[in-house]
Assembly symmetry: C2
Homo-oligomer: 506 residues x 2
């Protein structure tokens, strides 16, 4: 960067400080979910609010605006593809941030932190009424946020929120992809669950103590290439990944003795996010868009790829079963690779999104997308969420919801104002499938490599083609660059049908 003009250097340095404060913020959120004692919640809310205020002040510093304008007039910078991409995204970030009054930013952080605490309690007590006033506050704040960000022409208020997580996406366009996909998926789920034959769940049902599950999780993510000197794996209520800073990426998971595969696939999922975070060029560009992920949809494509396309493949289990056997001992030894493979690819109507199988998962997401879109537009009142949730759940997933803890209280997202976030989960599956076809063209012996425990060839491909680019390309551009086509639903349906029908003897 030494040949860049002084303004560009100053700009990057200011943004690096803002990002450093942001990384402290991210980190105290991680602690809030992992180790903070309950009575620390009020003080933590004040810390979070104040930190958010400081980050906001730095990202909206008028000096940043001035420097940006100067750089945008500099032809040498605009002629450098990476600097130009940096400036394009810095402009977007600055414009978005300056639209939000700092009072609102700090209120969102403070109320969010408290609401999240109440949510935890409400879920434990299966008490939606306890959570309701807090969710109402968060919805009102989110609407105010959307109004400040501005509704895009021809769009709806929800789009302003969605755009934060999946730039340029529109609810109506997502609906146009999701609705037919929903029908095809529902059809596939019907075919599979009606096939008369279904995989034996026994391999998933063996009881495994937490400590052994943790050891297995660590062994798998290490094989995937996750650098444990630059990251951690801890336990929390709702698994997540936080790419706190350069050299510090934190994964969380949760264990239940009776369902070791839930924890394992959850861990693989967060590890996929973590590998993306570790692959971003943060040491070089921290604070610049070049060190940032593209969108949540692309982020999710990485997590779903490692969880489903790798972790639920036959080749993976040919390598992994001996590893599991070494860690767990006896109980797993009575099962063959085919049995375990079939078992982890079982399709079952179930209640919890993060434990759902590959086929039904998208139905869980679509339900949330529809509800949050209606809450934000005002078509649905917060008080009516449980009823509407339960009704649609039965319609799409074909089973009743026994209680709110396993229904509309199951996810942390809404409690701290993540509205417009859910659809990115399904977009991630779509991107992953489309990338996967190209990866198999480029690495024709991928399965053989998995059988040998070589996952690094895949990781290298992802590092080169996705991670190292940071935010140089928009999600759509990246997809075109890699696959030569815009995003489409066909690869995902092909992948699911191609894998799942044989498992069910169809």
């Amino acid at each position: 960067m030494s040949d860049h003009p002084a303004d560009y250097t100053e700009l990057c340095s200011l943004l690096k400080k803002a990002a450093t404060l942001g990384s402290v913020s991210a980190f105290i959120s991680w602690d809030q979910e992992t180790y903070m004692p309950p009575s620390g919640a009020n003080a933590r809310a004040e810390q979070s609010s104040l930190m958010a205020e400081l980050v906001h002040a730095r990202t909206t510093d008028p000096r940043v605006g001035e420097l940006l304008e100067n750089c945008e007039r500099d032809k040498s910078l605009l002629g450098d593809a990476r600097a130009a991409a940096n400036l394009r995204e810095m402009r977007r970030d600055y414009d978005q941030a300056t639209k939000l009054p700092s009072q609102l930013v700090s209120e969102l952080a403070e109320v969010g932190s408290k609401a999240q605490h109440v949510w935890k309690d409400a879920r434990a007590k299966n008490d939606f009424a306890m959570f309701r006033p807090w969710l109402e506050k968060m919805v009102a704040l989110s609407r105010r946020k959307a109004e400040c960000l501005g509704v895009p022409t021809g769009g709806e208020i929800y789009d302003a929120l969605l755009d934060q997580y999946e730039p340029d996406a529109k609810a109506s366009e997502i609906e146009a992809v999701f609705t037919p996909l929903r029908d095809k998926l529902a059809g596939l789920v019907s075919d599979l669950t009606g096939a008369g034959k279904s995989p034996d769940p026994a391999p998933r049902r063996i009881k495994v103590p937490e400590a052994k599950q943790h050891a297995l999780g660590l062994a798998i993510i290490e094989a995937y290439g996750f650098d444990l000197d630059a990251g951690r794996l801890d336990v929390t209520t709702h698994p997540f990944c936080s790419g706190v800073a350069a050299g510090d990426t934190r994964l969380t998971t949760r264990y239940r003795e009776s369902s070791w595969t839930d924890a394992l696939f959850g861990t693989m999922h967060e590890c996929g996010h973590g590998l993306y975070e570790q692959g971003l060029p943060k040491a070089e560009f921290f604070g610049q868009p070049l060190a940032d992920s593209i969108s949540l949809g692309i982020h999710e494509s990485q997590s779903r790829m490692w969880e489903n396309f790798v972790g639920r493949s036959h080749a993976f289990w040919e390598w992994a079963l001996p590893v599991v056997s070494k860690t767990f001992g006896d109980p797993i030894n009575s099962f063959s690779v085919d049995e375990v493979y079939a078992s982890v690819n079982a399709v079952e109507r179930s209640l919890i999104r993060v434990e759902a199988d590959e086929a039904t998962y998208n139905l869980h997401v679509m339900l949330r997308f529809e509800l949050e879109r209606a809450i934000i537009s005002g078509d649905l009142a917060v008080a009516d969420i449980p009823g509407e949730w339960n009704k649609r759940f039965e319609e799409y997933l074909g089973m009743p919801v026994p209680d709110d803890a396993r229904g509309c209280l199951q996810d942390v997202h809404w409690s701290f104002g993540l509205m417009g976030y859910f659809p990115t989960y399904a977009l991630g599956n779509l991107y992953a499938a489309q990338f996967w076809d190209k990866i198999n063209e480029d690495i024709p012996d991928l399965d053989d490599r998995f059988r040998r425990g070589d996952f690094i060839t895949l990781l290298d491909w992802l590092r080169t083609n996705i991670h190292s680019c940071g935010k140089q390309y928009k999600a759509g551009q990246l997809c075109e660059r890699i696959t030569g086509k815009p995003l489409e639903a066909a690869p995902l349906m092909r992948h699911l049908e191609g894998k799942l029908k044989p498992v069910y003897g169809l």
Copy 2:
């Protein structure tokens, strides 16, 4: 506070924000010692440095100075004992903080964070040469700090550092108390170790897995009254307590299978600090001196009291042995209360300060006080520390130092610039002994209460007489208020002789 003038309210609110940032800083330091992955060190150093800069900017905000001046002219405030104490200490803090240039503050934080990381490695590798250049940097920065703070009239440069931890203390005065005490202690240690009879170490030598030691530690600190909903106990290299914020006090300890009592007394020690932190009126006065501890000497009086005056008493063990037995099972059951009591009161010349017994401990502290005083004055070069350490260690403790890891590299303090801190450890023992006499006057059946597992009566006394006062009184004033006398060495010598001589049959 509603009847206080607006300036006072604004002042308290500004200081609360500064303290909130300070609490974030304290918290990321806690993580650095407990859960941070090693590759996160560089990013963490940048975070720490930036946070320190922000805290410094807020505590030195000229608006704080202005408001302080206004309040200092307000007779109604000065007539209120608590507000007056608040203003007295706010003035002290403000003057101290404004003497330090923000560049120096941020350099101290950044170099300190890196030096601490190197220290950890150097200790593991027993390599003083690796640590030496970093310690030299920290000493140079500390001297610059002392010069900025200002050497008190008739004092020495070291006093400026000491004053940060023990306000108004002077090295020459400490020397005047320590030197005769050192001679008496050395005499007592000689008498005891030469008595021909010494307690059987067997009860301390049983092997106990980490998990059981952790369970015992939690049981004991809960009985002491530590609120685990408002705190935690974690594992680190060097045990410490961080009173992060209201409702959030974090203790750390370390376990070795072969020495369960080291961990237990370390945990009791940090718990004593933690009880003080939990007893300070933070919910009401956070950010004000009224919510702060008085000095490190007073803080240490609390940790040493719970560790030694309670935890090494016969009455405590009458209650505790069945608890230990319930947690550990068989190996402890062959020992009587008398045997365990004698064993944990053994006096042994040993290498590690934090594991030293009650009598030799002060000798370890005096050695450090003498060395750091000489390093800061320039009488001793950093390169000569190992030699000088080993020489004096043999002189005072009567045994050779086998390597630097168990010698001058054993403590974390110097690595991040805590110079002038060590003497407060011995002052803590002196204060604890003097308070203890008064406590036994006020609660004549204290031992009977311990036998029943009632430690809350003691805690209540400490809450009322010490914790709840915050910084209302200076250390010397508090001592006079409670005991009617200034600090003196006699109670500590009486306590040690009264307890230890019978253990050794003298």
